[in-house]
Symmetry: C4
Subunit: 223 residues, 4 copies
């Protein structure tokens, strides 16, 4: 029932939200890089067995080694998913958290999911190295048969420690709509496209130049 | 007929919109917290028996008690719905207003509604206390059978005063499209995500660092 | 053929776009009110019998007569449609232009149109006065039977001058997608909601306050 | 498999992304016109036979020759697609790149494509001149029969050099969702509409003016 969901979630925020977000601060701090002030506003879903916290991680930029004053993306942005296991009624253990960083393309996969689709992503920190496959993470997003919501699960396998952690979060259609809308909003930002467009007045010449129909194509044809 | 709707609404704004919004100022003032200037731009639907006014309420932030310069969400943002009963032709009584604050997840439920869906939300200010259930609010959004619009109704029950107020607003498909579009726009803002992304240049290092394919995963793997 | 459309449009812009927009400046100047710099960037569709130019008109604000420092909407924003008749091959007569200002709700109607829908809006400048009906404007947006585009037509009837002007613009699915996307982007801005959300840091208190689960509802319950 | 895709792309970025984007800087520099700092954040899809890089190109503005302080669009903005042929495993030759600039209407065509649609655009730099047809570019976007992704191909024909270059990029549903979302975000910006709406407080008068229901129509009726 909505009341149960909404209200229990409010209470959880009251009991654990603050500290949760406060601690989250340190783990998600890369999100705002060297910004003057760091802002932490994760969207957190609290469920019986685990909690899932979603935050955008902005890209970082570096100066271009050239004679022009430019910046290029250094580290890609992402949408960070943080899972915490429940360790009692409405208690979640931040120390045992596991994270999964959705790339722009993985975000594209999420926001294009229909009411009956499923997506699965694999990450391996040692990929392409001799240690490949020793440790891996698998995120699965699967629509419920009824089409009323999704199951999001993260599996972290460590073949060295022989450990296998699993987090399962049932997500309502409403919660998934928040995810889709917030991720669609964040996507251009984690791609760095907001930096291309939110700039001060530009390209202003002193007097109108005669419009040139080919000008548009010159851009296409220069090499 | 569109003319009737459009024009009568314009006229109502002329007669009551100003004062309405002016008084609204005081009730929605938390929306902009300590901002220098408060801006009031509710979207108001005037119908025969009541009016419905929609405004985003931004979250408030507090400094984090730590050695980093950060902010975290203090009070969640919401979309505030304000209902006023009609007390004559195109006259609405602000004194008898009732409000319902949609949480981000409830907004997600609203913007994901199809042309034939229904949603219902319950709020109880005394929830989880000994007074639980004494006073409660129930908001119902239900598509018309024809799929041409929605009925939005708010019921406020006070078991102590034995009072039961009800507001009913028929909403056209066009008005609901404004609601959905405006709420989708506002959602990341009431979540505080605009604060994460609308920041000044960040993460800029003096010289390009060698790109590290694992760097992306380090974020996932730090604890 | 796309080439024809695209290129002929480019050429038209070359021949008439500049002056067109330059003159448009004066008629759409209310869009940016007292802003320091006015920017004119209409989206114009040039067709055989007429041209259609679309521009957002931002709302204007007035100070609130009260002890708080606030602003409220004075004049509603709108999406201004400007029609010009063709007076020769790729020549359009700005002097004979006719305009139609879509209200936020009318914009909601436009952006919620399906591939087979139709919408019609009526405006009467003398509405509710003794001159009502003497002069009126009717805008009709109707999907083609094939579902491949829309017909947008404006009819301006003047019963005193016994005049009846009509503008008809066939719009491709691609052009309508630009209309929908641009109008969806502009809607929160013509509503003034961008002013609520694009504000500088706000609601920041010196130290974290204990989170209060009822706080959220207090907003709902204050009068 | 997603892992393969994701990771191989990361690796490619590591090997070629930096230099790629660095060189890209000079070709896409018009994107930010005379802005103080140029930001380069293309979304690049690396596939077996070629790579496709997408970046918004902002419009440029010129002062209006008039007594008002205004700006109008000088050169239209666009979404620039840059194709590079593969010259070895995960090696792409920037020197052999070919570009295609999508106009706002062509972007509208792209973002309105369904899971089974196809679009084709033709550009001829010499169009309407005696050299028309000597050199031309054709971009084709076609959904796979299965509805699981799209094929994007660019053909550049030079009838003088008797050359015919072709680039083919298979795009997954997830990658196309990023394209659609990023292009929908960028569309109002390449149209210059962000300049109309992201302006500082405007239209603020000292004291509230009496609301005039016709005021809204006066805008429609002035000439």
């Amino acid at each position: 029932m909505v009341l149960e969901n909404e209200e229990s979630k409010s209470l959880q925020s009251a009991k654990w939200g603050d500290g949760f977000e406060s601690r989250a601060a340190f783990s998600t701090s890369p999100a705002t890089g060297n910004a003057n002030v760091r802002v932490f506003a994760p969207y957190t879903i609290y469920k019986g067995k685990a909690s899932l916290s979603i935050s955008p991680v902005l890209p970082t930029f570096v100066k271009i080694d050239s004679d022009i004053d430019g910046l290029k993306v250094d580290r890609r942005g992402s949408i960070m998913l943080t899972f915490c296991p429940a360790i009692g009624e409405r208690k979640y253990d931040w120390e045992q958290r596991q994270k999964f960083a959705l790339s722009p393309t993985e975000v594209g996969s999420l926001i294009s999911m229909g009411a009956h689709d499923a997506s699965e992503f694999y990450h391996d920190p040692s990929m392409k190295s001799s240690n490949a496959g020793q440790v891996s993470k698998s995120l699965c997003i699967k629509a419920f048969d009824g089409g009323n919501g999704y199951m999001i699960s993260l599996t972290v396998t460590n073949n060295i420690l022989k450990s296998n952690e699993r987090f399962i979060i049932p997500v309502t259609t409403a919660e998934f709509a928040v995810l889709k809308t917030a991720c669609s909003f964040a996507l251009p930002h984690i791609m760095g496209w907001d930096r291309l467009t939110n700039q001060s007045p530009k390209g202003i010449k002193g007097s109108p130049s005669k419009m040139n129909p080919k000008q548009h194509f010159d851009l296409e044809w220069d090499r």
